[in-house]
Symmetry: none
Subunit: 366 residues, 2 copies
Amino acid sequence: MIEAKMESPVVLKKILDAIKELVSDANFECNEEGLKLQAMDNSHVALVAVELNAESFMKYRCDRPMPLGVNLASLTKVIKCAKDDDTVTLRATDDQDILHLTYEAKNTDRIAEYDMKLMDIDADALGIPETDYDATVKLSSGEFLRIVRDLSGLGESVRIEVTKEGVRFISEGESANGSILLKQSGGGKIERVRQGNGVKKEDGADDDDDDEDSGKKKAVKVKKEARDDEDEEMEEDDGGSIQEESGSEAEPEEEDADEEEGSGSKKRKRSSKASASAKKKTKTAAKKGKKKADDDDEEEEGGATIHMNQHVNLTFSLKYLVNFAKSGSLSKNVHLKMSNEVPLLVQFVFGGGLISYYLAPKIGDE
Amino acid sequence: MIEAKMESPVVLKKILDAIKELVSDANFECNEEGLKLQAMDNSHVALVAVELNAESFMKYRCDRPMPLGVNLASLTKVIKCAKDDDTVTLRATDDQDILHLTYEAKNTDRIAEYDMKLMDIDADALGIPETDYDATVKLSSGEFLRIVRDLSGLGESVRIEVTKEGVRFISEGESANGSILLKQSGGGKIERVRQGNGVKKEDGADDDDDDEDSGKKKAVKVKKEARDDEDEEMEEDDGGSIQEESGSEAEPEEEDADEEEGSGSKKRKRSSKASASAKKKTKTAAKKGKKKADDDDEEEEGGATIHMNQHVNLTFSLKYLVNFAKSGSLSKNVHLKMSNEVPLLVQFVFGGGLISYYLAPKIGDE
DNA sequence: GTCCATGCTT
DNA sequence: AAGCATGGAC
């Protein structure tokens, strides 16, 4: 038996809108931690993962782990029958292949119930790469959408380069070439992600120093810790333009979590966080002459927040990126995580969950 | 080498949207005066001319006149990659067949660069008719769009008649006929353009009095002059409905130029002009009991400002007019200029430039 | 809450 | 190329 009640169908609607063209059927794996969906896209090129944390539900109960095999088109139809201010309750029992959905208007004057057939779906053998990434870029979802859409008008592929200059998106088409450079937000320098001792290398920016700290920032799950002090001597480790950065990448979820769903001003949470982390960073920032106390809180238009451990240069199919970018409605920002020759991770963090897309790079001139 | 920097891509976007279905490839002729494009439409029926004045650019440099042969579909794609608040710089060197476009966000965090192939295009042999027109009608672009779109639902062609009654758009279709009459704005009488002595004729409205004043109002370039007094006795010269008008048609460019691009209220310039010309017209208006002091400043909905030298009666293909009307987003008003048996000129004047369409009338019942 | 403009789909 | 739907602005 599983029962999950949510305040609003909006997030679910957006998730389904975002992935239903990529994946037609998938299992929602339910356990005490929440709901998780992982699936290869229909052409088995990209991988989609959605996580909804148990805590984000008004009520969440899962007696034992079970998969709910759903046809996403059907679920989309059904969830669209919920008004945006209805509460939505999902229910499934162990013995029936049925998903029950109950939509209740806030005033309880209206209760709608839907039953949807579930399917048996063979779980894809999903090898989710668990890499530490050489470069991460945070930018506004709108900007990301804009970039990939613009470039998809020119060519099939985009090359993404992260250098100390910023992140560059390059597309070469028949009639025109395009190149979009996003600099670090606010004109700051590209910040070096602090990762174990990898950054100690003199030429670290071109080397593989990502293997050494696996487990340290597993995807975006790792908690920020007070490690700032131990690496202060690493400043200027790459010609003076790459700078050590103290753990700010460790908490994108919390930061983004209420950007979209929360109704408060975008400065609300930020300011409290900034003051909290500013304390830790004061020493470092002062020493290095940084303008910003906490770059993760930078959100201004057009800019990107870039953490680079090593230059990356990867080429991807724009078609998929355009698809991924649809999830922008879930979160104000998107995180791109890249290492050379491994799949790109495109991640949207929203209140109560996370949606991740993995896409393998094109190799050579394929 | 040519380099042209503009504050915003919006005008260029609108121009391309407006003409890209009419013309697929064209030369932008660049010289020190600005950029000019002239081309026959793809079916060689209509002629499109676009002018962008050098002064309207933030920066403009053209070392020597050169044509930039562009595929308009490609340029449209590329220009759409500019955000509306980006500055746009066009660059072309003499030796490369490439147009470079640079889009810079105002905060400079984002710089996008596009390179587009240029083409060698045989310049059309363009005979632009330089006529003085027997009738000119100024109306709101929205009204024009509405009229041609409405009528195109009924028939293939529209007959445009300008008489002392106003301007009439007539379409005869299989299942229905339509006729739209626009009277002079504000209920004023049709104003006779003051042209030499032509208006002295008792029946001038039906005769050919347009030959006599050629050079007086060449297109829309002629300057207003204080000639009001000399013809005051001509009032009621055509049954009391045709009226001498003192050169107010002489400055549509200036008048329209900031209607669209200017950010001021639409009454700003108007009121100052009205008071200036009101002085001149006071005598006439008082004598005739006119309501309005200056009809050129009338912009209210549904009205038209009509200057007629001679009745005209011309038939045009609606298909083209509908296409022309798309340029309405560039300017609040459109000017229609007509003489019997010569091509119609449809003109949109906007901040920094001008777009003109010429369309030959249908003869007989072709 | 309504209207307009833009983007996407057929 | 036209119509529909969605998102943004007033």
